[in-house]
């Protein structure tokens, strides 16, 4: 495909990545969060695929397939199942992030600041390869990672914390894809595996928490301190 189309498509995919991150931060319904997380996985796949097609890079194509399998199929599936189980015994209140530590309006404004911060700190990295359009999109990956971190800090429910952790990881993956343009397959696989691992761990943790307290509201964990 010709260059301008490549740039536009890449930018579009990156924009989708960012918007889905914002929406995940915005929504309270865990079901909606999972849905947008799936869409974000698609955007991530698209980024990998576009770079692969542009660079005629088979390994990147493989990575794209892997990302698709993991982010669009496996993880959402896990999340949905966990959500279903939470609904089964947690009742309606398990379905919503009822009261995040920072209210939604404030966290949206915080996300705006984080994005600009990501832009500021990633200028040097971008300047390394000013020619490549992929490099210009690095700030977006970083912004997604930061937003995910922010959500991880401010969310109460274990489920939505899991989701925000995965969001952060999507951001990291995007940065990896955009910087190295896929040359380090190992790093990719490493990230993906450790995500899967972390997801499994949190999965176990949440189920344990639920078995103990009947629902997974992490504030209840304070009781465990003493």
């Amino acid at each position: 495909m010709n260059h301008t189309a490549f740039v536009e498509l890449l930018n579009l995919a990156c924009g989708a990545l960012l918007v889905t991150a914002v929406l995940i931060l915005w929504r309270r319904q865990l079901a909606a969060i999972i849905r947008w997380f799936t869409v974000q996985g698609l955007a991530l796949t698209a980024i990998a695929a576009i770079i692969a097609v542009d660079g005629h890079d088979a390994r990147l194509g493989a990575i794209a397939a892997g990302v698709f399998a993991l982010r669009v199929i496996a993880l959402p599936l896990l999340l949905r199942r966990a959500l279903a189980r939470a609904e089964a015994d947690g009742g309606g209140r398990a379905l919503r992030e009822t009261s995040p530590l920072v209210n939604v309006t404030a966290s949206l404004l915080a996300a705006a600041v984080l994005t600009l911060l990501a832009y500021a700190v990633s200028r040097p990295v971008v300047q390394l390869t000013p020619a490549s359009p992929a490099a210009h999109a690095i700030p977006i990956g970083l912004a997604v990672a930061l937003i995910g971190f922010f959500a991880l800090v401010t969310r109460r429910r274990a489920m939505s914390q899991l989701a925000s952790f995965l969001l952060m990881d999507n951001g990291i993956t995007a940065v990896g894809l955009l910087t190295t343009a896929g040359t380090s397959l190992i790093m990719e696989l490493g990230i993906s595996l450790d995500v899967l691992f972390a997801a499994a761990v949190l999965q176990v943790l949440t189920s344990r928490v639920r078995d103990t307290f009947g629902h997974a509201d992490l504030d209840e964990l304070r009781e465990l301190r003493d």
Partner: protein, 696 residues
């Protein structure tokens, strides 16, 4: 040495500093001298004449002083060059050095114009109650305001600055006999303004210490050789000093106190003319004398300006005291102007002269527009206070029946203040936003991050300003009167209406044909050594030079009027149209609606208060008293809610408390026993000896 030499030297150097000065005598000096003389004569006469004539003499004299000042300013900005005046020996160090360049001329012209309106208003406002001191000080205050931008050396500037501070303080104190809170406000004002003076003094002296002589010419010559550290120190010091005068957050604490308590014509002078001089100082020292400097100065200024704008208008939106509201909105407008100045300096340092000129021109135009509408609004508020006896919006309302002219004036002022076409502030804020938006092209990282935030701050400010002034006008002047005073309000005497009329006319001119003043602003910008010219021009249609962007407030207004007239005519021409009928308000069929059922200013602002809960931190408390026989029955419930100035709570009160604690500690050291004092002396001597012994 002979007094002539330094004068010649100063003039000579100045002619190098401002090329062309000294070419020939212009109108400026005669007019300024006339203003000074008039002020003195007026002061003396208003001390002499009987009470009956005092207000007339002082008011008319002030107006004439202002007129002369305005003439001087106009002469200066229209390019009649005037030489530097130097009178040695009047003050220590360098004597008095005066020079008027277009930048100073612009501020002098604005001040003079404000003084004309205020003077004619003061005739009726002071009336029989005019006390001798306040009547005498008013023209002197105007004269000092005119003198500050004419100062051409550090010492002269500081002297005029102090004169201005003292005269304004006296005027603020005018009504302290009637109301005790005046004294509190005056104390705040005195402390803040003198802390500011100290900062300016420190900054300029540090600057002068590195230069040969303290005249601006010498300072400007020395600036390039200064080390960045010194330059930055000087800038930060003068920023604090002048910023406190301009009422920038967090140094704004005096402003919402002094403005409501001062007599309204003084509030108008302070809010429309005096605070501008803080901006003048920033431009003069920051851009003119220090010659730009590093980018972070201006980013800091933009940040301060944006914060001041948003915080000021939020406080204004919350306050129900109409004069306090206007004072907070002064903070807001100074903030907007500072965003413009900061953007100008930023673009100048990053090498975009056209944008720099545009931004600074927007700031200077905003100074003028703000002066016009703030004068109008304060004068109108003064008439309301005069007629209804209260400043509380919750107790006003329905004034349009009693005082139609004042209502019209305040309405026009409110439209001018809320940047909506055909309002006055619309043009200057349009220019400002244009400058910010075009600045994104080829911007550095910091700039690229600052500009969008600045634009959103300006936008939020504009939106909140609309809500604020709809509240002020709608609840204060429309609807039903909420108190007996408001119901009995009567129109003000002619001289006050004349003052408002002048200010309103100025608003109209600036709103419809802003292009008329842009050439003058261009010269002022050039004199500030920021850019060659203001980046905009055109009389009917406002065009940006070298950038795409144009708007025509005049044609816009004409189009609106045409459509309105056409629509009205169409309605009249309708074949099947039935006559208009008066009917009672729809009260849902129940009893008549009383004034207590109306929305008050507080209730109008309540949604905004909820939205900005985290920023404003409002305080509410609810006392419920129960019946003593059954504590389940509520006898009465009392609800109190107020929105305190949060920055004040967080910043000033701890400081004041600490100072108080130190004072108490000091008092405990001095119980008045002679023995203890002797003991202090002994311990001091002994300690000294020990130190000497050790260090030997």
């Amino acid at each position: 040495m002979s007094p002539a030499t330094p004068a010649l030297a100063a003039a000579h150097s100045a002619s190098r500093f401002w090329p062309g000065i000294g070419a020939h005598w212009g109108l400026t000096w005669p007019a300024l001298a006339g203003a000074g003389t008039l002020a003195l004569i007026t002061a003396l006469f208003s001390l002499a004449v009987p009470r009956r004539w005092r207000a007339v003499v002082s008011g008319a004299g002030t107006a004439l002083t202002g007129l002369a000042g305005a003439a001087a300013g106009v002469a200066a900005v229209t390019g009649h060059r005037s030489p530097t005046l130097s009178v040695p020996g009047v003050l220590p160090l360098s004597g008095v050095t005066l020079a008027v360049d277009p930048l100073g001329g612009w501020f002098i012209a604005v001040t003079g114009a404000v003084a004309v309106a205020v003077g004619s208003y003061a005739i009726g406002y002071q009336g029989r109650a005019a006390s001798r001191p306040s009547a005498a000080v008013l023209p002197l205050f105007v004269a000092s305001l005119l003198a500050v931008p004419a100062a051409a050396s550090a010492v002269t500037l500081l002297a005029c600055w102090e004169l201005m501070a003292l005269t304004s303080l006296l005027l603020v104190l005018a009504e302290h006999k009637r109301r005790p809170e005046v004294a509190v406000a005056a104390r705040w004002y005195a402390i803040m303004t003198h802390l500011g003076l100290v900062c300016v003094l420190a900054g300029l002296m540090l600057f002068a210490a590195h230069a040969r002589g303290d005249s601006f010419a010498a300072l400007a010559r020395a600036a390039p050789h200064l080390s960045p550290a010194v330059k930055s120190t000087v800038f930060v010091l003068v920023l604090v000093g002048f910023g406190s005068k301009a009422g920038l957050v967090p140094l704004h604490a005096w402003l919402p106190r002094a403005h409501p308590e001062a007599p309204s014509h003084v509030s108008a002078l302070m809010s429309a003319a005096m605070v501008n001089l803080g901006l003048y100082g920033l431009i003069r020292v920051g851009s003119g004398l220090l010659g730009g400097g590093s980018a972070w100065w201006w980013l800091l200024l933009i940040a301060l300006g944006a914060v001041s704008a948003v915080y000021g208008i939020l406080q204004a939106a919350m306050s129900t005291d109409v004069k306090r509201l206007l004072g907070c909105s002064t903070t807001e407008n100074m903030g907007l102007a500072c965003v413009g100045i900061g953007a100008g300096g930023l673009f100048a340092t990053t090498g975009h002269p056209v944008l720099a000129g545009l931004a600074l021109a927007a700031a200077l135009l905003h100074v003028a527009t703000h002066a016009a509408f703030k004068t109008l609004l304060f004068l109108a508020a003064g008439s309301v206070l005069h007629a209804a006896g209260t400043r509380d919006l919750d107790a006003l309302g329905g004034l349009r029946r009693g005082m139609p002219a004042t209502t019209l004036a305040f309405g026009w002022g409110a439209l001018a203040a809320s940047a909506l076409p055909p309002g006055t502030a619309f043009v200057s804020e349009w220019l400002l936003v244009q400058a910010l938006i075009h600045g994104l092209h080829g911007a550095s990282t910091a700039t690229a991050i600052t500009l969008p935030l600045a634009v959103s701050a300006v936008a939020l400010t504009a939106g909140l300003a609309v809500a604020t002034f709809v509240k002020a006008f709608g609840t204060g002047f429309l609807a039903k009167p909420r108190s007996a005073g408001a119901a009995a309000a009567h129109e003000s005497p002619g001289s006050m209406l004349a003052g408002m009329g002048l200010a309103g006319a100025a608003c109209a001119i600036l709103a419809l044909v802003p292009g008329a003043v842009l050439p003058a602003i261009g010269r002022a910008v050039a004199a500030a050594e920021v850019a060659a010219a203001s980046g905009a021009g055109g009389v009917v249609t406002l065009r940006l030079d070298g950038l795409a962007g144009e708007v025509s407030p005049l044609l816009l207004t004409v189009a609106l009027l045409i459509v309105m007239v056409a629509a009205a005519a169409w309605l009249r021409a309708l074949p099947a149209r039935s006559a208009r009928r008066k009917a009672r308000l729809w009260d849902c069929g129940g009893g008549p609606l009383t004034a207590r059922m109306e929305y008050t200013a507080t209730s109008f602002a309540e949604p905004l208060q909820r939205v900005f809960d985290d920023v404003l931190a409002p305080e509410t408390d609810l006392d419920v008293t129960h019946h003593d026989e059954a504590r389940y029955l509520v006898a009465s419930a009392e609800y109190r809610g107020r929105v305190p100035d949060r920055i004040e709570r967080r910043l000033y009160e701890p400081v004041l408390r600490a100072v108080g604690a130190w004072g108490d500690a000091a008092r405990r050291l001095a119980p008045g026993s002679v023995h203890r004092y002797l003991g202090y002396g002994f311990y001091a001597v002994a300690g000294l000896l020990i130190v000497l012994a050790v260090t030997r």
